[in-house]
Symmetry: C2
Subunit: 454 residues, 2 copies
Amino acid sequence: MRSWLAIDSDSDFSLDNIPFGIVSPLIKRGHWDDEPRAAVAIGEYILDLKKLFDYYYTQGKSGHAVNKFDHLFSCVIGYDTCKYGDVFTRSTLNDFASLGRAAHRQVREGIQVLLREDTPYPQVLKDDQLLRSTAICLRKDVEMHLPFAIGDYTDFYAGYHHAFAVGEMFRGAANAIQPNYNHLPVGYHGRASSIGVAACGSAAITRPVGQILLDPSAEVRKPTTAPSRKLDFELELGCFICVPPDQAGARVDVGEADEHIFGYVLLNDWSARDIQAWEYVPLGPFNSKNFATTISPWVVLADALEPFRAKGIPNQGPTPIQDYLKEDREESCFDIKLEVDLIAGDNATTICRTSSTNLMWSFPQMIAHHTLGGCALRSGDLLGSGTISGPNEGESGSLLELSRNGTKDVLLAGMESRTFLKDGDEVVLRGYCKSAAGVRVGFGECRGKVYPAK
Amino acid sequence: MRSWLAIDSDSDFSLDNIPFGIVSPLIKRGHWDDEPRAAVAIGEYILDLKKLFDYYYTQGKSGHAVNKFDHLFSCVIGYDTCKYGDVFTRSTLNDFASLGRAAHRQVREGIQVLLREDTPYPQVLKDDQLLRSTAICLRKDVEMHLPFAIGDYTDFYAGYHHAFAVGEMFRGAANAIQPNYNHLPVGYHGRASSIGVAACGSAAITRPVGQILLDPSAEVRKPTTAPSRKLDFELELGCFICVPPDQAGARVDVGEADEHIFGYVLLNDWSARDIQAWEYVPLGPFNSKNFATTISPWVVLADALEPFRAKGIPNQGPTPIQDYLKEDREESCFDIKLEVDLIAGDNATTICRTSSTNLMWSFPQMIAHHTLGGCALRSGDLLGSGTISGPNEGESGSLLELSRNGTKDVLLAGMESRTFLKDGDEVVLRGYCKSAAGVRVGFGECRGKVYPAK
Ligand SMILES: [Ca+2]
Ligand SMILES: [Ca+2]
Ligand SMILES: [Mg+2]
Ligand SMILES: [Mg+2]
Ligand code: NI
């Protein structure tokens, strides 16, 4: 698919992608519109869906406001009726998500039709210079916001090689994988208020202060309170949930869980390893995680990843998994190429290259498990995959693994090295899929920069 | 203080209390108003603050809407200006909470003045029969809602005797208390979507289905998926947070944490012990907790509990606590008498009597720790204390302790006994403070009933 907009062939935001986000467009130099609204990214541009909605919604001829916007999409994609109302004028994607997968598909396809070089509806956008100049602007001229009001955030632990490597580090290879790991997608409730995006450039991450046990071998354990010395990143995939109102609170079958997935983002679960080691017994990580979590601001719809399905890590547990976790489909993950850059001063080094096929549990399995006991998922809930690492050198999605808990230097460009993150370091996560035919669907960047402790 | 409303001397909702909640008043038999709004409870009655606001807000003489409501409170309590706007017309208390402690104090005192037998402003409410019949109704004629939109819910573990008893049960007395327990208020992020109130009567709790390891001693551990056989309650105190917008995201000093406490509720952290035992390694409880959490619907303001300050459990750790947790004040807890009734069939048995003085960490300490590393608290966030148990027989706030993990029958009235909860069982938490002079400030009931697994 080619667009009448100029799109680089290596852009993450191809016409095959059409990711959604919440933006504030620049009004004039240094001033942003104060009303965040929905948009899609396309190449170096964004299409402002509120502007598109306003333009068509208010064109009623009788003097009454009529919803020509819904009518427009009905015509463009050939459905009888589309009912989106004014969901794109809201400051989050929650209401759009709640319309369900069929609506997301309609809107994505409708936008693709409008943007295609050979669009059969050039009068709607392509040839309407007024609307184009109003609703389309450069991506660099918008400020990004959190795409959703996130009711609850759950972080899983489905990256098998990460779980193995960390387990081996602290318990040895024989006990690396806990007995429950092959039976259920282990996860914990994270802190929704910790989640942020980079408005532009990098998200600012303040190094957390916390309780640290400097000498764990002392007979009387005496912690100190200090800035974390072991600040780390975690390379994860995030999954945004959609739940139509009539399905609220229901248990979700693994085979139907796809219908509850709105889309995906990259997720950096910043972690303070020294705070974590002291606090996590017996109830799990707390202050070591709740200071910051950064996601990429553009949400790639589930449909856009469908062409890139792939098998995950086989579950080689000693006994079969429970029925409610069994999937008919073998290709229940995606092959998303993932990379991590660490920028120290002027030099960027790619310190990790891996793939999301390194997950042992799929998101449908996580959703089936999450809702098994009666836990209600809501539109806008965010699930993290857990750290994604490959089995080989240079494939680890955290410095904990790359530096073997600080015992080995990770070499960087410019004669630098790291065990954990220093103030001023910038971490950039990237992810993209590419088909044999050259179709590329990517996530853009998830970028955060470390600032000194306060 | 006596009121011109008839209030029982043993009512939890005395004129000294004035707890806040969100209600839907009954319009006619079987039909509730569909707009939840703020109210206070007073004896068997509620005072509808939206009705009070609407009545005075719209009485402007010039034809313009003027805020006589704020003016009213300014006069009633003698402040120059009160600015509440229309916070009481909202469907949650979040915006009221964000006004800060001084505003909560003004409104509580203003309402006390209006309701006093010797009110100097009888014309405002006492002698205005139209307003009285509009804004005051019986508590049994309203439906209750969640008082807040809860952004994040954190459950701590500050009940020393509970932590000791559970630790002793699984690790023996010598290792009952983990090394970090005396140094930091251990806590975990709970599931905000799990929290509910009883609209009227009891909250309906569906027994959760989950993975259970029936034979933990087997060489190959093979779980089954089944309804929990070890469904339990946990007696806790909940604390609602208030954060004025200008203080968003800041670290909170332990000495200033009171300013971030809106008020308190009773909290039942329903727990499935068999699901918990299998899932919780290494990231903490998940499906064993996220199916349901019930709070009492009326929030007792922090000011109402001030007269009942008391010392908690002394922290007898081997080394002093960190400076950021040190409190000047010795009486950093409250002496709230707590009781648990288990209703089986027609018989209610009080199975636990204890006090909130059994907490080793205070809520100000929990808040100071929670925000130490940069975690942002927001108005409407809920903190749970952790299970509150006393050291003696009959003082345990969970069946796990009362039945020693199912090995001992808990005897009930009517020849019944329990180890864990059966379908049909009802659990009622109660809590109240009483002064030597007979002043009573209580929480009403936190009530939930167990229904069969689906
Ligand atoms: Ca993680
Ligand atoms: Ca608890
Ligand atoms: Mg994090
Ligand atoms: Mg619970
Ligand atoms: Ni007309």
